[in-house]
Point group: C2
Chain length 349, copies 2
DNA sequence: CTGAAAGCGCTTACAG
DNA sequence: CTGAAAGCGCTTACAG
């Protein structure tokens, strides 16, 4: 660690931890049984107003807080939801986490965060093991290609909802954006603006969301009776550099496109640089549209037109699905939610 | 929720949850006592190789996984660290979370995430109550002005490390960036480039890090024997708009600065827009430097020179401090870590 | 409306 | 090297 310590300071008072007060202590002080204390706590059984008041006062005076583990051991419920995220450094996941927290916290659920760090599947396996061992009430899994992990969770009897895995072959609750429609809507938007020669810079085609966004482009072009030309299809790797290179190639053509649908914002920002480098004005010479609405999309000049994926809402929906599933238990029916995207028209189109 | 459901599909198999296998069951199947099973699990007592092998095989066959709550109830340890973050939507916090996870996960600790959602203190109080109730082994608190919450945690006997609270009056472990030096180093950088007329756009001055960054500016100007002129000090609110406005005012002066230290990147990006709007070339007419190194800093054109705060390292340091504190118990000495920032020289200076 | 007692699934002195 | 038993702090039939 390249940190420098500034040494110690010794002003602190070190009170020993307060004596842990148990339900037993409360019962004694209130002159009732543990049973009764437990019931004023849970409300599972009527307690006379007078007794209740007395017990509550004692709890307050003693600062009683029921032991979470003892409760969980009895109820066999952890009130904890695990979120396994692909890469928390990607703003999509924090927003997802926030929505999830919002949806489940009023049910007294807390979220346990696992960040796979954009790494390989090994970490995810470990996280799933943790979630099982800690008896999570449910897990939201926002990592792709993890059917085996999902299966393990279900064997352990833990409800799962997958995010962004319309791709999963497993019967399971999931919520995702409609990537194919996102792409189609982006193309429609360009078409409405008068563009006919529309290119695309795709992501990797073997995975979600690269593939559905590509298919959406194709579908829209066909629906609009626009010719799909192989020269108008460039492949990127989600990165700014790959977007730059792809756009440079398109710009160099004598029959260059008048508009480009980029499958994400990073590539679109790269494309923006390349366009200007090639002396093309945006949007006059080429219009550009991305997907995601990352922070930088609105900070860049000209500000990027893009399709926003409501990550927070996805998190909220995932939380609601999970709560349902927890309440219902495993059944044979599964819910799927497609969350609505929104077109953010800015300056590049 | 503005989502549309696509209905249900009914392909799933709904295997009932596997019968929970206990230590008792393992003991029976292996022909030993629970005591022995417990010890092969914990390694707290020698077990003959032969017995150990047999028990381990049974555990494997039965898919035994010890009940986390029963363990926690006995050991009085949750192996859980709570992270209370100001606003997980701000990229600083996810990076912090990642560093924290990295530091504590090899000690079998898991992180419980609480996102205060940039909201007021009420939520933080609730989170602290949760952390206490769930018997977190420790908490990292990355919210400012929460001395009362910190006090409650200490009363409950829970170790705390604060992030970014050099400001706290409490004797406590903390880790933070050296905001005053960050500002001073930024000014030094501009000075080295030949600038003498250096302005600043500050953040709010009543809090960390607005105040220390302002003080660092003052200190550096004095150290460099540069005059501190009130006209060269503009106050912003961390936002892009406030940066824009502040820069517009500076640009309008006949004695405008040749360089501006902006206390964060958002304001610097606003300043960049304003400078160009005023017909000033960056960095030829005005040089600009920010703080944070948000994603957009390198995506904007010209790319923003800034000072990077290593959030992930802060998280890692906080995790290490916390682990220490958990191991040592409350003592009267406290550790403080100042994490090293790094100058990212790009195109605006 | 209230209690005594069994039980949740582990760990850990105590004893051999 | 191994076990029987008490105990961690709750919840919940069962009984009154």
């Amino acid at each position: 660690m390249s940190a420098r310590k500034t040494g110690l300071d010794a002003t602190g008072d070190a009170r020993p931890a307060a004596a842990p007060v148990t339900i037993q202590a409360v019962a004694a002080a209130a002159g009732v049984s543990k049973t009764t204390v437990s019931h004023v706590l849970s409300g599972n059984r009527p307690v006379s107003a007078e007794t209740r008041r007395r017990v509550e006062k004692v709890m307050d005076d003693l600062g009683f807080s029921p032991n979470f583990f003892a409760q969980a051991l009895n109820r066999n419920r952890s009130n904890t939801i695990a979120l396994i995220a692909q890469d928390i450094t990607n703003p999509f996941y924090p927003a997802l986490a926030r929505g999830l927290q919002a949806a489940v916290s009023n049910q007294d659920q807390v979220v346990m965060l696992f960040d796979a760090g954009a790494g390989e599947g090994a970490l995810t396996h470990a996280f799933v093991a943790d979630a099982i061992q800690r008896r999570a009430d449910g897990v939201v899994i926002a990592v792709s290609d993890v059917d085996d992990d999902i299966a393990r969770l279900r064997e352990a009897g833990i409800p799962v909802v997958a995010v962004g895995s319309g791709a999963s072959k497993l019967p399971i609750d999931w919520v995702t954006a409609d990537d194919e429609r996102i792409a189609a809507d982006a193309v429609m938007h360009l078409h409405l603006l008068g563009h006919r020669r529309i290119a695309t810079i795709t992501g990797p085609l073997n995975h979600t969301p690269g593939k559905p966004r590509y298919l959406g482009y194709l579908r829209a072009m066909q629906d609009l009776d626009l010719p799909v030309e192989p020269e108008m299809i460039e492949h990127g790797e989600w990165t700014r550099e790959s977007g730059f290179d792809a756009m440079a190639r398109l710009a160099a053509r004598h029959d260059r496109p008048s508009a480009v649908f980029c499958a994400n914002d990073m590539m679109a920002i790269g494309a923006l640089d390349a366009a200007r480098r090639s002396g093309l004005a945006v949007p006059e010479d080429v219009a550009l549209i991305g997907v995601d609405d990352i922070d930088a999309a609105s900070l860049v000049r000209p500000a990027l037109t893009t399709v926003r994926i409501p990550a927070e809402e996805i998190g909220r929906a995932a939380g609601e699905l999970l709560l349902h599933r927890i309440a219902e238990g495993m059944t044979t029916t599964h819910r799927h939610v497609l969350v609505q995207h929104v077109l953010m028209t800015r300056e590049t189109s």
